[in-house]
């Protein structure tokens, strides 16, 4: 008997060891990871300090006072220091003599003497922007020094900011990391949060303990008293810009969590050892590594994120659902990061472009168009004054057509003489010309110069950055295209008005005029390609408005969930731990299995009408009280509310060994958690899809023929039109069709135009059916709506450019013309069939794609 037990004892011992080692190890790994994050936080902080100093050094009032009235500098510095990261801010004149020095509230001053002759000062006096981590006296500081350079590039002085790595900064890091933090240098503890826990300990002793712990195999730091706790610590060295070691940053993770988990694990093992060797092993590993740790990591990640720290890594690599949750959470975070950055930049640019593009598309009144161009552009580029000049064709003179900020309510505004020269330069250069805070960019279409935009920034703003130059250029190109359209349109209209009078005169003249008209019309046709461009721009614009909204919605969902999740997680963990005390390992395992099985169902549960909840709860309450469960009413209500009534037998089963209130609360929390995470997942997927769609729609390489699934483009377009599709039901009849060779972005416009027309025709209710099919070596797409249909007298004209039955401002009448043009360019054709309640557009595309020569000749004209 005794010998038979030997393997089991070994097994238990091993399993025990494995579990503990695993827990301990994962805690250590996490501590190291946290130290890494702390380092990244510190570097972020360094950059922030530098950016602040640079902004201050560029401030026009500082430059001016340093030159003219140094005695007023101290007041300025004091005022500025108040809004900066707690730091000691010093300003020296061009010879390095301190002019002012101010402590931001809460900043500890390093000793005065160390400042003079500091390396940072020397570097900055030599025009170098310098930043480092350094030991100053007994402190470790972030030190940034930036030269103050005036418009003439002469040195005016130096700004130096010094931020100590002290208790306060450690506290700030602790807030983000949820871990204790210490900065150690020169055998001294310069800043720490550990002391708030280890109240009985002094700095010196704490340092000794930390050093000892870090030297050990398993670095555990004990702060003494029970309350003070034990920590697993990790350290990362800090270095100066010259690569010298200046100290280290130490992070400590509370072992409480570990101890709780260990207690659970020990209990589990006690039973498992009797059951079987392998079960024990599996159970222990699962218990130790796969649930507690990942959950708490997820918890931490969410916490960090709620605090706005997206750099917090979440490495949970388990194959179960928690792992999956974590991964989807992680993906969401990446997508959000990426997205937020791009969107913030793009949206303001695009919405302006949109605004202009849309108006250009519909208004076609040249002067209105030009006014919009200048006002919008001044807004995006933070320009004080802006003028749009056009070239008079007959003599090449530049005329002021529109302006912003030039004054002149009465009579023509005064155009600074240098502006004309700069504008002329930009036209001659086919590009951007910069003269201090003045920038000119030409307006041109098809190699014909139309004029130029001149922008001027106020003297207290920085000169134009490269990004601003780039934006001005893009904008000008688009605007020019539209201006030309507007001009042509007016020419035609003027002409046809005149024509009527002419008719009454002489036929001979009419014939002549007809030739003229034809010429103008053919010219208009010539610019069709140009119109396509502007239409595409208009399309993009309306997208952005939609997208901004669409992103807000899922972001809101995420934000909502993220705020509550940490607390719920906390509660769940506490309940889990409490139940682990009450239940046997086997029961515990069963409970976890049941719950993890239930999770997807709980996640999907929606809100039910109150009446139904009441009815079901009443029924469940009867069942529960019959089984002798106390407070059956409350439990029943809770279970029903979160859609978990089917788990009631399970609650009953555990009722004699555990508190049903706890079990139900756990279920409730889990349901809540699952729903929250489900919401995040959905929102996340939605954001990713949007970003993908937006990118696919607008960033496709316009010159590349790409082999695609025809439905990809349709789906992209649908995603983008999503908001407008409300009330419309979509029926997709996609068949297996071969891939086709297309210019992706252009073909997307075909789908956009067709779908947009259908949506407009349906006016908020009806059905759109999209069907794909194969027809010989062609792929067909059929888009049908059950709207009012196209009257037979209108039908023959719908493909004509500028033909529209929609009110002015709503339709340009270009949509179908463009669609046909693009389809034909792809070597395909487009057909229409319509009767009331059934309008159907069919697009045929050849699998082989556009014929090369056709495609290129078209390209060249664009």
């Amino acid at each position: 008997m005794a010998t038979a037990l030997v393997p089991l004892v070994i097994a238990a011992a091993v399993a025990h060891e494995v579990t503990l080692t695993r827990l301990e190890l994962s805690l250590e790994i996490r501590a190291r990871k946290n130290a890494q994050i702390a380092l990244n936080l510190l570097l972020q902080h360094v950059q922030r300090v530098r950016d602040e100093v640079e902004a201050f050094a560029r401030a026009p009032d500082l430059i001016e006072l340093l030159t003219l009235q140094p005695s007023l500098v101290p007041a300025l510095v004091r005022e500025r220091a108040r809004v900066m990261t707690p730091a000691v801010v010093e300003v020296a004149d061009r010879r390095g003599k301190t002019v002012a020095r101010a402590n931001a509230p809460g900043a500890n001053a390093p000793p005065e003497k160390t400042f003079h002759g500091g390396l940072a000062l020397l570097k900055a006096l030599n025009f170098e922007r310098y930043i480092t981590l350094a030991q100053v006296g007994k402190d470790v500081v972030i030190r940034a020094a930036v030269p103050v350079v005036d418009n003439e590039f002469s040195l005016r002085g130096v700004v130096i900011s010094t931020v100590a790595l002290d208790d306060d900064l450690a506290g700030y890091f602790k807030g983000v990391l949820r871990a204790e933090v210490a900065f150690v240098a020169n055998n001294r503890m310069v800043g720490t949060t550990f002391l708030q826990r280890g109240r009985t300990m002094g700095r010196a002793e704490l340092l000794t303990q930390i050093t000892k712990a870090l030297g050990a195999d398993h670095p555990v730091l004990s702060l003494g008293g029970d309350d003070d706790g034990e920590f697993v610590v990790a350290a990362i060295p800090l270095q100066s810009a010259a690569g010298e070691r200046v100290g280290s940053i130490v992070v400590g993770l509370d072992r409480d969590e570990f101890i709780t988990a260990r207690r659970g694990a020990q209990r589990a093992l006690l039973f498992a050892f009797i059951v079987a060797l392998f079960v024990a092993l599996a159970g222990a590993t699962m218990f130790g590594g796969h649930i507690t740790v990942p959950l708490s990591r997820l918890h931490r990640g969410i916490l960090a994120m709620a605090k706005g720290d997206r750099s917090h890594p979440l490495d949970i690599d388990t194959a179960d659902e928690i792992g999956e949750l974590a991964r989807s959470f992680h993906d969401m975070r990446l997508a959000l990061d990426e997205h937020e950055r791009r969107l913030a930049d793009r949206i303001s640019e695009l919405s302006t472009l949109h605004h202009v593009g849309r108006t250009l598309g519909s208004v076609l009144e040249l002067d209105a168009v030009l006014r919009i161009v200048v006002t919008e552009l001044s807004k995006v580029l933070r320009v004080e004054r802006c003028a749009l000049l056009t070239l008079r064709e007959k003599d090449g003179e530049l005329l002021l057509r529109a302006h912003a900020g030039l004054g002149g309510e009465e009579g023509p505004p005064a155009l600074p003489p240098t502006w004309l020269a700069l504008a002329a330069a930009a036209i001659a250069e086919h590009g951007i010309c910069v003269d201090g805070r003045h920038l000119a960019v030409q307006l041109e279409t098809r190699d014909k110069a139309l004029g130029a935009l001149v922008l001027a920034r106020a003297a207290d703003l920085p000169e134009f950055s490269e990004a601003a130059m780039h934006l001005a250029e893009t904008f000008a190109g688009q605007a020019a295209a539209a201006i030309e359209n507007a001009g042509l349109y007016q020419a035609v209209r003027r002409f046809s008005e005149g024509l009527e009078r002419e008719v009454e005169k002489r036929t001979a003249e009419l014939r002549l005029a007809n030739v003229e008209l034809e010429r103008t019309l053919s010219e208009l046709k010539e610019t069709q390609t140009q119109l396509i461009l502007s239409e595409r721009l208009a399309g993009l614009g309306s997208l952005v408005a939609g997208v901004a909204h669409e992103v807000n919605t899922p972001s809101g969902a995420i934000q909502g969930s993220v705020q509550i999740l940490p607390e719920t997680l906390n509660r769940t963990l506490v309940l889990g731990a409490r139940l682990a005390e009450q239940l046997s390992a086997d029961e515990m395992r069963r409970m976890l299995a049941t719950l993890s099985e239930a999770r997807p169902r709980l996640a999907k549960h929606g809100v039910r009408p109150p009446a139904e909840v009441r009815r079901q709860a009443a029924r469940l309450q009867r069942d529960l009280s019959a089984l002798g469960i106390k407070s059956a009413k409350r439990l029943a209500q809770k279970l029903v509310a979160c859609g978990a009534e089917y788990l009631a037998p399970f609650v009953v089963e555990l009722a004699d060994r555990s508190d049903p209130n706890d079990v139900v609360a756990l279920i409730e929390n889990l349901a809540f958690l699952s729903r929250g995470i489900g919401a995040i997942e959905t929102a996340n997927k939605r954001i990713i899809r949007l970003v993908k769609a937006l990118r696919a729609y607008s960033h496709a390489d316009p010159d590349a023929l790409v082999e695609v699934e025809v439905t990809d483009g349709i789906e992209t377009t649908l995603t983008i039109l999503h908001t407008q599709l409300r009330g419309v039901s979509l029926v997709r009849k996609y068949r297996e069709v071969p891939k086709i060779l297309v210019y992706v972005d252009e073909l997307n416009q075909v789908w956009t135009n067709l779908l947009h027309n259908a949506i407009q025709a349906l006016e908020g209710e009806g059905t759109i059916t999209i069907e794909t099919f194969v027809d010989g070596d062609e792929v067909g797409v059929n888009i049908t709506d059950n709207g009012p249909g196209i009257p037979s007298d209108v039908l023959p004209r719908i493909f004509e450019p500028h033909f529209s039955t929609k009110p002015r401002g709503e339709g340009t009448g270009l949509g179908l013309g463009i669609a046909r043009k693009i389809v034909e360019k792809h070597g395909g054709m487009i057909a229409v069939e319509s009767r009331p309640g059934h309008t159907s557009f069919t697009v045929h595309l050849t699998v082989a794609g556009p014929r090369r020569d056709e495609a290129t000749s078209e390209r060249e004209r664009v």
């Binding site: 530098r50 025009f127 590009g431």
Partner: protein
């Protein structure tokens, strides 16, 4: 029992530990490298930028190699060579057993094809983009296959920089294509090479290379190289910090300290054989007058430019040659920063600006110009102070190159990274009249001086190093007198790298041999 239990315990613990270990250091197989602009082409001679040079030199190999550390001439695809006593007839013995990426064998035919295609504008596979490099092969009068692996090249006259010119990246050997047909577009854009890496995919902003498993020499360590064009400097820096990039070119001076403070990143510093300069278009007024050019030389504060625009990581230049090139001399006329004198000089000429002059500058950082627009702004101020109003014309690097090559500028900023350490590669390329052809000019000052031309040509034909040096000395003195440029700086430059990537070194031509990279 105790004994056996602790044994099992031990071994299991070990197992777990090693398990963790392996996971932590999973082999990384790709390097992601960010460059500030896109590669121009994968066809070697269509490139003139550092970005292009970097990528094509991993794909194609020239006959000759310049050793990165010593600057010496080494065998490349040619194993040996000799020159006849006339100094004009060269025989090359090619390396055997080398295969192109498609498996076909490398032989003399490919070399003939590569050189012919470049030097002969009527070659069926010539491309107009080759024009900038034609002069490095122009004086080859005959190429002949004398065996499957031997080859004879004859130059018009003895030609000193001959071997070193064969080592420049546009002469990376490509596989011969049948001449009777027009070359297909794909082949023209991505010829087949022999290098340690081969093309895996090429998009406008991303080129992916994979290791050539059949490479004849020591095989590369890293499986894949991803070259990404990232225009925004902040994006490059973020990528480096967050670990999505392994290497970033084009670091702004302001980003260097952050790399230094990050224990997982380091700066790979390179001594550049380079020069950054302000060129004056000598074909136009007012710069057709040498006195104006000298005045400009006195007006520009190079010391300030080096401090502010290079953050100190450069030395002030006085001539075209960096001190590391053997023909460098300090015995040339130097122009001190002296605005008063500049003003006097301009006054004596009677120069009166009727229009602002146009200073062309690229918006893309270059290895020799970390912040070009800032430098241009400083120069604009300097010149305004002596009474010359300036308008900046800012263009992307590609457009800038095209515009200044056509001679549209009054003044322009440009620089040069030496390809092969030979003085000819600077002086002849950048300041000889042969390279001042409108359209494909490398000599963007359009400096045309017959005496300088004579000296540079004579130096090309002089095989004796000491006498050659003497010729270059005189050429440099004349150039300094004539002042077609304001030479600005010779700079070192930094590439940001993850600390665990080893084996990188930045050679003088600004190229990193990523085939030697390892983790």
């Amino acid at each position: 029992m105790v004994c056996s239990s602790s044994l099992v315990r031990l071994s299991l613990t070990l197992l777990l530990l090693t398990g963790c270990e392996r996971k932590a250091s999973q082999p990384r197989r790709a390097l992601v490298i960010a460059q500030p602009r896109a590669v121009e082409s994968l066809d070697p001679p269509r490139n003139t930028t550092a970005e292009g040079a970097q990528v094509v030199s991993l794909l194609y190999e020239p006959l000759i190699r310049i050793d990165g550390a010593s600057g010496r001439v080494m065998p490349g695809l040619a194993a040996r060579w000799s020159v006849a006593p006339d100094g004009r007839t060269w025989t090359f013995h090619l390396r055997r057993g080398v295969r192109f990426h498609d498996g076909s064998p490398f032989d003399a035919k490919a070399v003939v094809y590569t050189i012919d295609r470049l030097r002969n504008s009527r070659h069926p596979h010539y491309h107009q983009g080759y024009a900038a490099w034609q002069n490095i092969v122009r004086n080859i009068t005959a190429i002949e296959e004398t065996g499957r692996f031997t080859l004879r090249l004859v130059t018009k006259r003895p030609f000193a920089p001959f071997l070193r010119n064969l080592a420049i990246f546009p002469l990376g050997i490509v596989k011969a294509q049948p001449l009777d047909r027009a070359i297909s577009k794909t082949v023209a854009l991505t010829p087949v090479g022999t290098g340690p890496y081969r093309i895996s995919s090429h998009q406008r902003d991303e080129v992916i290379l994979t290791r050539n498993p059949h490479y004849w020499g020591p095989k590369a360590n890293v499986e894949r190289l991803v070259f990404r064009a990232i225009k925004e400097r902040r994006q490059r820096m973020l990528g480096l910090q967050s670990g999505t990039l392994d290497v970033a070119f084009g670091l702004a001076p302001a980003d260097r300290p952050i790399v230094q403070l990050h224990p997982e990143l380091r700066l790979q510093r390179g001594r550049g054989d380079n020069v950054a300069y302000l060129a004056m278009n000598t074909r136009r007024a007012p710069f057709d007058d040498v006195r104006v050019r000298r005045a400009i030389n006195h007006a520009v504060d190079k010391g300030l430019i080096v401090k502010l625009g290079f953050q100190g990581l450069a030395t002030v230049a006085h001539g075209a040659l960096p001190p590391s090139v053997w023909a460098y001399t300090s015995k040339i006329k130097r122009y001190s920063y002296d605005p008063a004198r500049a003003r006097r000089l301009l006054g004596s000429v009677g120069y009166d600006p009727e229009r602002p002059l146009r200073l062309y500058v690229m918006s893309t950082p270059r290895p020799y110009f970390p912040s070009p627009v800032l430098v241009a702004r400083i120069i604009a101020r300097n010149l305004a102070r002596v009474g010359i109003p300036i308008t900046l014309v800012v263009k992307s690097h590609a457009e800038h190159l095209a515009a200044v090559g056509r001679g549209e500028h009054d003044l322009c900023l440009l620089g040069w990274v030496g390809d092969n350490g030979d003085p000819d590669n600077f002086l002849y390329m950048l300041l000889d009249r042969d390279n001042a052809r409108i359209g494909s000019a490398q000599n963007v000052a359009f400096f045309d001086h017959s005496k300088v031309h004579e000296l540079l040509i004579a130096a090309r034909q002089e095989l004796n190093r000491a006498q050659r040096k003497e010729l270059y000395l005189r050429a440099q003195q004349l150039i300094a007198e004539e002042a077609p440029w304001v030479p600005l700086a010779h700079s070192e430059y930094d590439v940001g790298v993850r600390h665990d990537i080893r084996g990188l070194s930045l050679s003088a031509n600004g190229i990193i041999d990523f085939a030697r990279a390892r983790f």
